[in-house]
């Protein structure tokens, strides 16, 4: 990509996103806004820009997570993905997902809510202010990353859609479209991908609906245009490319619970003391590092979420 072209495009991007940019200024805080301005770069990329534009120049305002861990490189985050809707090969997802259409997009809200109906991505971007959250992501397979997400707490959406009192769980569903998602022809899995959260988990401030990372819109391989991020649970709970959110009374059965009930439970909290039936969860490899790290209880968010599970047997409720 030539520098000239980049120079030409940057002002266009700023123009196209000026409205959102100004909105962001007020929310992320002065220091963040100043930093972003210094980097000459908006927080939220415009929707009307071509997807295959110049190579993104990712930037995050923060440099580390709450424990002082450095961010995983943008390149690793966008090229090492578990997204079985495309392929089970983590490094094959990026290639197979580039044609994926994540616009136009809407989430269908249903079930036990006062305000059902579809919400378009435009509405979501308009209504909810994006903020940066730097979270650790621990995959059940034993690797982890530190990712600067852009998104907003799920609780904000829940407050708008107004769950009825009898709602006990939130059920999420990913897109089902075998024509554009070649991995969905693997009939072993009961597509579409389904995940769920208990009400208190869903309302927790850490629980995020993410629309971007490193200051860029989510790429298809990371779950464009909108995904869940629940940092204290194994990565598979953070369902990608959400098309449906239902409030329900019964505990939802996730795709993984249905595929391998003895291996993947509903809670899936990161826990170094409860092994996967076929491997240990005591340690993990942080992508970009050579030696293993000890896995932390609730992925290091015990202070924030430990109280949600106080009276629970975490071995039984894995």
């Amino acid at each position: 990509m030539s520098e000239n072209l980049r120079d030409e495009i940057t002002p266009l991007r700023r123009y196209a996103t000026r409205k959102e940019f100004l909105k962001t200024l007020g929310v992320v805080g002065v220091s963040a806004a100043v930093l972003a301005a210094c980097q000459d770069k908006p927080f939220i990329a415009g929707e009307d820009l071509p997807v295959s534009g110049p190579t993104p120049e990712p930037s995050a305002t923060g440099l580390t997570d709450d424990l002082g861990n450095p961010l995983t490189s943008y390149n690793d985050i966008i090229s090492y993905n578990n997204f079985y809707e495309f392929t089970t090969d983590k490094e094959g997802v990026v290639k197979l997902s580039q044609e994926f259409q994540s616009s136009p997009w809407a989430i269908e809200i249903g079930g036990l809510v006062e305000n059902p109906g579809p919400i378009s991505m435009e509405d979501i971007r308009e209504r909810y202010t994006s903020e940066e959250r730097i979270y650790r992501m621990r995959c059940v397979e034993g690797w982890s990353m530190v990712i600067p997400w852009q998104g907003f707490p799920l609780s904000q959406l829940l407050e708008d859609i107004k769950p009825k009192p009898e709602a006990k769980y939130v059920r999420f569903e990913s897109i089902y479209d075998p024509k554009s998602l070649p991995g969905q022809s693997n009939r072993y899995f009961p597509w579409p991908y389904v995940e769920g959260l208990r009400m208190d988990e869903a309302y927790h401030d850490l629980t995020l609906l993410a629309t971007g990372l490193y200051g860029e819109d989510l790429l298809p391989q990371n779950g464009a245009p909108i995904r869940l991020v629940v940092p204290w649970k194994y990565g598979f709970k953070s369902i990608k490319s959400i098309v449906k959110i239902d409030l329900v009374e019964e505990m939802p059965v996730s795709l993984w619970m249905e595929s391998a009930p003895n291996e993947y439970g509903f809670y899936a909290n990161v826990n170094p003391n409860v092994d996967h039936p076929r491997w240990s969860q005591a340690t993990e490899r942080r992508i970009g590092e050579l030696s293993r790290r000890n896995t932390l209880m609730f992925n290091g968010y015990e202070k924030e979420v430990g109280s949600l599970y106080e009276s629970m047997d975490l071995v039984k409720n894995f």
Binding site: T88, Y188, E263, R278, W279, T283, R285, L290, R292
Partner: protein
């Protein structure tokens, strides 16, 4: 079928058997060293992706099981083609399989767990697929050592009995691979299927049928 019979009976084929087997012997060594060279090159070029240790673990493991499959394919081919000369491919294929299995194991112990013995032991003892892999490795190590002509001569009949353990190694290696991946991941199945067919070929009823037909 016609090609098959003409191939078996033609004089050309008879004359080719010996030189072709010698060429294949050389090809085994060249072919088996390619994954190693490619791996070293990719390491040098930082071309191993976001999780390089896992990448080389998977690559060496797959190469080991592939070579084990090829070594187990030699005897059926010898029988079907009446080609005794290719028997000499068994030893190099088996030794190369054991070499990659050894590298695979060393990566796990030295690079992956980097002398974090407690974590290594915790993972190894609780996990079936690690135990299965270790058992496979031990068998291949034992068979490699005793593959020396010295042992072949010294052990007599027992040598053949001992080297039948390669069948166990094949089954264990396939199970190790299957249990190492998440359910629904299909990567191990072509290997497992090939292994199963080659082992089925050894069953007495199948052997009786083969000997009668050929």
């Amino acid at each position: 079928m016609k090609v098959w019979t003409s191939l078996k009976t033609s004089n050309n084929w008879k004359d080719l058997k010996k030189p072709l087997a010698s060429i294949m012997h050389l090809a085994v060594h060249i072919g088996s060293s390619i994954p190693l060279l490619v791996g070293l090159w990719d390491f040098w070029q930082s071309n191993l992706g976001a999780n390089p240790i896992q990448e080389i673990t998977h690559r060496t493991g797959k190469t080991a099981i592939l070579l084990l499959i090829l070594s187990l394919a030699v005897s059926p081919l010898r029988q079907l083609l009446k080609w005794n000369q290719i028997n000499k491919l068994r030893r190099p294929l088996g030794l190369w399989a054991a070499f990659y299995a050894g590298v695979h194991f060393s990566i796990y112990v030295v690079l992956d767990y980097g002398f974090q013995w407690k974590a290594l032991l915790a993972n190894s003892l609780t996990n079936k697929f690690i135990l299965l892999g270790s058992a496979t490795g031990l068998i291949l190590l034992l068979l490699s050592i005793t593959s020396l002509t010295f042992f072949l001569k010294k052990m007599g009949k027992n040598w053949k009995k001992l080297h039948r353990f390669v069948y166990a190694a094949g089954i264990l290696a396939a199970l190790h691979f299957i249990l190492a991946v998440k359910p629904g991941v299909l990567d191990p199945w072509p290997y497992a299927l090939a292994m199963a067919l080659l082992l089925l070929f050894r069953l007495p009823p199948v052997q009786t049928w083969v000997k009668k037909t050929i």
